[in-house]
């Protein structure tokens, strides 16, 4: 009964606070949209390469590589001038039989793109050389064969019937998830979605309880026979309701606005993010007891919220030191990220993430318990 009254009151306050509502609902969508625009635009890298004394066959092949443009320079000095002027990203200089490559290296992705392009251009040139040599050899063999007696020719043909079929194989790409334009952003998205749910619920719920404490309404509330748990549950219920809407909105925006493919069930994704929102809520309420002002609450963001992003799986953890991997086990977003990635990209069912969900629920129970205990600071019973 009291839990319900507290929930109703918190919801009323929230609905009347239009700015915070807008922050919770519009800000995540805006940021997600911006990120998708930026990350998709960046997925192709165009490089400009300057060549000095490179044979025309190599530079033609280099020019044929996608997103690479070749400029010829008469000597190295001119090429270096162009690089200083930011016109080219790399210089390929051939002396005798050796190549020396100079990279501007202001953008590592461009450097590696040039390395790749140059390698493939060299390979292509070698293949072409081999092809032409092979052609010469085949012609010679043909001439030799013609001089053989008819019977021997037949025997030869039956012995090597596959020779002509050995042309270059056709490569067809199949994508289990998404298509050829699926990039880094799509991999980040499940984690990012969780992060936004976590961040905004954390911030607003923490602020709400903090305000209740600094304005004195909390001690007034505690001067009534209300149970401490009723206060915590009232807050959980009201922000839980808000989180349902927020999560649905973020998930829908991700799917419709950003056109992300979801292989598994959308409802499962919402369920996971909802549990995460409740963890964020309990976490926000807990931390608000350690803050004396809104500003101090903001100070928790760089210390406790931003680092979560690094351990959450946005950056693949497999190759990192084991102690860093260990830290990720205490990061709630990691569990939701793992589960949502599985559902979204591999179409796994909600029930195959029993472990992730249980860990999130353990977080929730422990934090809620700490919150109920924590209110003892303000009333001893």
């Amino acid at each position: 009964m009291r839990t319900f009254a507290i929930m109703k009151r918190v919801l009323t306050e929230m609905i009347r606070d239009k700015r915070s509502l807008a922050l919770m609902f519009l800000a995540p969508i805006l940021v997600l949209w911006l990120m998708s625009v930026i990350f998709t635009a960046n997925s192709t890298t165009n490089v400009e390469v300057g060549t000095v004394g490179v044979t025309s066959s190599v530079s033609t092949n280099l020019d044929q590589v996608k997103h690479v443009t070749v400029h010829h320079y008469a000597n190295e000095a001119n090429a270096k001038k162009a690089m200083k002027a930011d016109k080219i990203d790399a210089i390929i200089h051939k002396t005798d039989n050796d190549y020396s490559l100079t990279y501007a290296n202001t953008d590592s992705s461009k450097t590696s793109a040039v390395k790749m392009a140059f390698k493939s251009a060299l390979t292509q040139t070698n293949i072409n050389q081999m092809k032409s040599q092979l052609g010469v050899a085949q012609k010679t063999i043909g001439k030799l064969q013609a001089t053989l007696p008819v019977q021997a020719q037949r025997q030869l043909q039956s012995q090597m019937p596959t020779q002509k079929k050995a042309t270059t194989p056709q490569i067809t790409n199949h994508y289990v998830y998404g298509d050829s334009s699926t990039g880094f952003f799509d991999k980040m998205l499940p984690v990012l979605m969780g992060f936004f749910v976590f961040f905004f619920v954390f911030l607003i719920s923490g602020m709400a309880l903090l305000k209740e404490r600094t304005s004195g309404t909390l001690s007034r509330l505690l001067a009534t026979p209300v149970r401490r748990s009723e206060i915590v549950f009232g807050y959980m219920a009201s922000y839980g309701i808000l989180a349902i809407f927020q999560t649905i909105l973020i998930v829908m925006a991700t799917i419709w606005l950003l056109g992300v493919e979801v292989v598994g069930s959308v409802i499962s994704i919402i369920v996971i993010n909802l549990i995460l929102a409740l963890v964020a809520l309990a976490f926000g309420i807990l931390l608000s007891t350690f803050a004396n002002s809104e500003f101090q609450m903001m100070q928790f963001i760089p210390i406790l919220i931003i680092p979560q992003v690094f351990f959450s799986g946005i950056i693949p953890m497999d190759s990192m030191a084991s102690w860093i991997q260990d830290i990720s086990y205490i990061i709630p977003i990691k569990y939701s990220g793992d589960a949502v990635t599985g559902i979204m990209m591999q179409g796994k069912s909600l029930f195959s993430f029993g472990l992730d969900i249980s860990v999130l629920l353990i977080f929730l129970v422990v934090l809620t318990f700490l919150n109920v205990r924590g209110l003892k600071r303000y009333r001893k019973v």
Partner: protein, 241 residues
């Protein structure tokens, strides 16, 4: 003699190394207004918080209605008003009252009449549906007091209730407190307006963590051979140093 409503015996309260209350003895009897006066920082609010069970005494005992505090259930029989207004700004006056009525566990059927009654006492009937953010300072104070009055509690604990209230309203509030007392209920009130202390039935002087005098205002005045409680206060403070 009837049992005391609030009975504080040899109360000691420490915050870290600082001892705020050294030895506080105080009793509020039924049908009595007890005023608690003392310089700021003397620990008036600490006495109240301990009596309400927000803090636990480090020594001595605090009993309310004959039961040892802290005790959550007893809080439904106490009306408390803090120094700060402690209101929800984005809610209307009525919504504030309704919320706290629910928290106090007042029966659903009685909430409406209870709200009407307390609003009338503090003269806020016409402004109940306005949001608190549009209230003046005095109106907030009155709303805060009316919340304490909800549900006709047997004991009222008021921490500086008349700060920032204009004289006419202050008189009205004291009249109301008087009639509450006459109904048989008890009030513990802190103040540092000395002429208000004259209106109480008994005054407790809190100085240096101790109640150094606890008696009727008239008795105190004769005891210290002065004309006002203010002089009693100054003289007592002087004697202590």
């Amino acid at each position: 003699m009837a049992d005391a409503i609030i009975d504080l015996k040899h109360l000691v309260k420490k915050f870290g190394k600082q001892t705020v209350l050294k030895d506080v003895n105080l009793a509020v009897m039924p049908k009595q207004i007890v005023g608690l006066i003392g310089p700021s920082g003397a620990g008036k609010s600490t006495v109240i918080k301990t009596a309400l069970g927000m803090e636990v005494a480090d020594g001595g005992s605090a009993t309310v209605f004959g039961q040892v505090m802290p005790n959550r259930k007893l809080l439904s029989r106490i009306g408390y008003m803090a120094q700060t207004d402690a209101l929800y700004d984005s809610l209307s006056g009525r919504e504030n009252l309704k919320f706290f009525a629910q928290m106090k566990g007042i029966k659903k059927s009685e909430i409406k009449t209870s709200i009407e009654h307390v609003a009338k006492v503090v003269d806020l009937q016409d402004d109940l549906d306005k949001r608190v953010s549009g209230y003046s300072g005095g109106m907030m104070r009155r709303l805060s007091l009316s919340i304490a009055l909800l549900g006709n509690p047997e004991l009222l604990v008021l921490d500086e209730p008349t700060v920032g209230i204009d004289p006419a309203l202050r008189r009205q509030i004291w009249r109301e407190l008087g009639s509450i007392r006459d109904e048989g209920r008890s009030i513990l009130i802190t103040t540092h307006v000395m002429d208000e202390a004259e209106l109480t039935d008994k005054v407790a002087l809190l100085l240096g963590g101790k109640v150094i005098a606890f008696n009727e205002p008239v008795v105190l005045k004769t005891q210290y051979r002065v004309d006002s409680i203010e002089d009693v206060f100054l003289k007592a403070e002087g004697e202590l140093q």
